[in-house]
């Protein structure tokens, strides 16, 4: 067997999806045949219409869990929005493990409905946030959902959130290459303002192994990759100021992945306790220490993003 669909899979977009001869025996056949996920061209049009006024949509992805995707997404949003003239939205589609409310200091907030849709939560005038965490009653509440239900909520997030006019919409995704990822890419298919994905990794092979899979996923579904970010790249001791590697780049780290896959390495962000601390407290990391190497790395990264995707 290969890790792919059946070799003669006609693809989920085909009219033959789930009914072609090759579909026999594939466990996905009935889901594909029902056409439920993709019946609604009109819904894709609706999504496109809703998101049309956004200048740039950036997906944050990583095959691996725990590499700091949400930390990265939260920080990127905050750094971009540190310029008052830039309007930023942050959407968390990690339905089962929403971390963005905590990271943005919005735990306990609830989503409100208006005639124009779901109102995102504003941290400041130019930074709006939406997460499934806002739909949960308490921190103990678990979203125990299989794929189709998650996909339904993602669709709603794209279709029904009443974003203000945005320069950037950053979409934080869960780990893996499954329902959420297939869904978000297909739901955004008609959006010309989807710039692509930023891939977050840590230096060790255990992470890169999954990230290579994610890159393969992106290539296969036609999602452009903007670049790589190596998080937790090294540690600088606050007592002796010397560097050490916690997650050793045994296979060359993000740098070698970047050259082997021909993807730009956008930033290497060092391990810094103030990052984790500021995320836990839901505050901007620069409030802890403006000069920290991690803060400076984020700063130059967000500058780079603004240069690459001008407003």
């Amino acid at each position: 067997m290969s890790g792919d669909h059946p070799s003669d899979c006609v693809g989920i977009d085909s009219e033959q999806a789930g009914k072609a001869p090759g579909c026999a025996g594939c466990p996905n056949a009935s889901v594909c045949a029902s056409g439920k996920q993709f019946d609604e061209t009109s819904q894709l049009v609706e999504i496109e219409k809703r998101l049309r006024s956004i200048k740039h949509i950036l997906l944050i992805i990583s095959g691996k869990g725990g590499v700091g995707k949400s930390t990265f997404s939260a920080n990127l949003a905050r750094f971009l929005a540190s310029n008052e003239s830039i309007n930023v939205g942050l959407l968390d589609i990690d339905i089962c493990g929403p971390s963005i409310p905590r990271a943005m200091g919005l735990e306990g907030e609830q989503v409100h409905m208006s005639s124009d849709g779901w109102s995102p939560i504003y941290i400041q005038d130019n930074l709006a946030v939406m997460s499934s965490g806002f739909l949960l009653g308490s921190l103990e509440d678990a979203v125990i959902w299989r794929g189709p239900k998650k996909n339904g909520l993602i669709k709603q997030f794209l279709k029904d959130v009443d974003w203000p006019p945005l320069d950037y919409l950053i979409i934080d995704t869960p780990p893996g290459t499954s329902d959420e990822h297939l869904s978000i890419v297909s739901f955004l298919k008609k959006c010309a303002n989807l710039n692509g994905a930023i891939v977050v990794t840590t230096p060790q092979e255990a992470a890169l192994l999954d990230v290579r899979k994610q890159i393969d996923f992106a290539n296969r579904v036609g999602l452009p990759i903007i670049g790589l970010v190596e998080n937790m790249s090294h540690f600088v001791c606050s007592s002796c100021h010397k560097e050490s590697f916690i997650f050793k780049p045994t296979s060359g780290g993000a740098k070698s992945l970047s050259s082997s896959c021909n993807i730009q390495l956008l930033a290497s962000i060092p391990i810094d306790p103030i990052i984790g601390k500021s995320i836990d407290q839901g505050i901007a990391c620069w409030e802890e220490n403006k000069e920290s190497p991690a803060v400076l790395a984020y700063q130059s990264l967000s500058k780079k993003i603004i240069e690459m995707f001008p407003i």
Partner: protein, 230 residues
């Protein structure tokens, strides 16, 4: 401790167990009872581990497993029903993050043996990780899976240059979660670059670095698990 242990990797989209056990075969054989798990090369006193992962079924480690729920569930069912583990004292099942298809499927598939099934929760110390684990506790309660205890990983890092300890990812989150949820706290494991590197190279860390702090903590946790589950 001499227990016979199997290790099943249910993280279908991001399998890491093959790398960490040093098994990079890409072929799985069957006998009349089902798939034969691979076994690690281990030197005594450690017994070999029986390992099964989707990684052994992939021809190319870089190709993505792009599967929606139903296909993942079918694979999980097959892993649980069709692997010939032989006689095991313990089967450890490594799961992906979240509370979704994989978790629901494994809970359902093991329902008929509910008395033998329990969960170990792993967190890192910071609140953002602890919060996800709180949701996992709710999942275990709803699925009727008893929780053996909580382990706090990546707890403190000792600088190799000056021996100063930094709590990179905060500290104490696992312990306080255990108290809050009224679950046993099994212990914490410090950050050790050698542990990470051993995992990368598929080396048995407990053998190579038996006197390290993390080795002691891991053995201690294993001892507690054996006491609690017999």
């Amino acid at each position: 401790m001499g227990k016979k242990v199997g290790l099943l990797d249910l993280d279908l989209c991001g399998p890491s167990i093959a790398l960490m056990t040093g098994l990079n075969e890409t072929t799985i054989y069957r006998n009349e009872k089902g798939w034969i798990p691979l076994t690690t090369l281990t030197t005594p006193p450690f017994s070999p581990l029986a390992v099964m992962s989707i990684a052994f079924l992939l021809k190319n480690s870089s190709s993505a497993v792009i599967w929606r729920g139903p296909k993942k569930n079918a694979m999980i069912k097959q892993f649980l029903e069709d692997v010939d583990w032989g006689d095991l004292d313990y089967l450890l099942i490594d799961t992906p993050p979240g509370t979704s298809d994989e978790h629901i499927s494994v809970a359902e598939a093991l329902k008929h043996r509910a008395d033998d099934v329990s969960a170990i929760l792993v967190t890192t110390p910071q609140i953002i990780a602890v919060n996800d684990v709180r949701r996992e506790i709710t999942f275990c309660h709803k699925a009727g899976i008893p929780i053996v205890g909580i382990i706090e990983n990546m707890s403190g890092y000792v600088c190799p240059h000056c021996s100063d300890c930094t709590n990179i990812f905060s500290s104490g989150g696992g312990q306080s979660l255990a108290e809050l949820a009224n679950v046993t706290f099994l212990g914490n494991i410090p950050i050790d670059p050698d542990l990470c590197e051993s995992a990368e190279k598929g080396i048995n860390y407990l053998n190579q670095f038996e006197n390290s702090e993390a080795s002691k903590r891991l053995s201690d946790i294993a001892g507690k698990l054996i006491t609690q589950t017999t």
